[in-house]
Amino acid sequence: MTTSPLLEFLLSRSRGELLAWQDQLSAARRFNRSVREVELIALQHGLLPARYIRNRKTITTEGQLRLCSASVVVVGCGGLGGYVLELLARLGVGRLRAVDPDCFEEHNLNRQLLSTVENLGQAKVDAARLRIGAVNPAVELEPHQCAFSAANGAELLQGAEVAVDALDNLATRRELAKQCLQLRLPLVQGAIAGWYGQLGIQLPDRAGSGLHWIPAEGEQGGLEKELGNPSFTPAAIASLQAAEVCKLLLGAGGVPGERTLWVDLQAMEFLIPE
């Protein structure tokens, strides 16, 4: 099947440059293509799926094509990772790889977007696949129910353009940061505890690591075990992470280079070290 009859179909159904969801879905079924393939072809020819119309003043149709072609790996699908996946899917990032070994438990319900009373006991990455499939079928989510490690890291990062650190322990964060440097992969890190959050950017062309966490003596867990996390802290930090991923993929805006942002939501303070 060439793209021509498909493209003709899309052009005949579009209104101006907008392509309605039902027509995108019809094209996928009629021409036996995935929704994402139809979206790529539409965007390549200047047609914008109507779901992105409110993106348009922020992200051009060319930018939307770039996002649809992109691949991002999200390591950790709990508080931060659930929001990051949702935000990137709604943004239109075409390929997401979700990595997490855990299943949902009741204590996740206060903050983890992908958890519901219905899916307690379900693997987080499977819940992510279902949720993203319902939110944006043009996004292909690849679930990996495993813990990121030195042994499987290269395989999990393979083909990604940006990695997101949504992990919950320093040892695995360090391993992820190390492998991202080796693979020259930009890394967007987030960490949370109670009212507090932290964002870090590690770029591959920089000598040092964006991880500016002091090696805590003994490397016990940070404050999260003591403070837990309310609903809004992961949402806030994940939103900042998604914005940085978007800028890295589009090469747009002020990608700040290596930088750390420390957020105190209780005092409403944002601290950016040099």
Binding site: G79, L167, I192, G222, L227, W262
Partner: protein, 74 residues
Amino acid sequence: MQVTVRLVGVFRIDRFREERRCYPETATVRDIVCELGIPLSLLGIVLINGSHAAIDDQFRDGDTITLLPFIDGG
């Protein structure tokens, strides 16, 4: 010498937000952290005059030392 010590997040509880304090010329950040009773395992980031620094770094008269908690939840 006199420096400004600035604490962030939970480090402020039962301590202070910002204070001018005196230390000997040879003092390091570690001395401040120990003096304030902050467990080293909870220390995340050290800044001297807004730039990342290490716990055994020395500082100068008039500097501002900022201590941020270690957080790693996700």
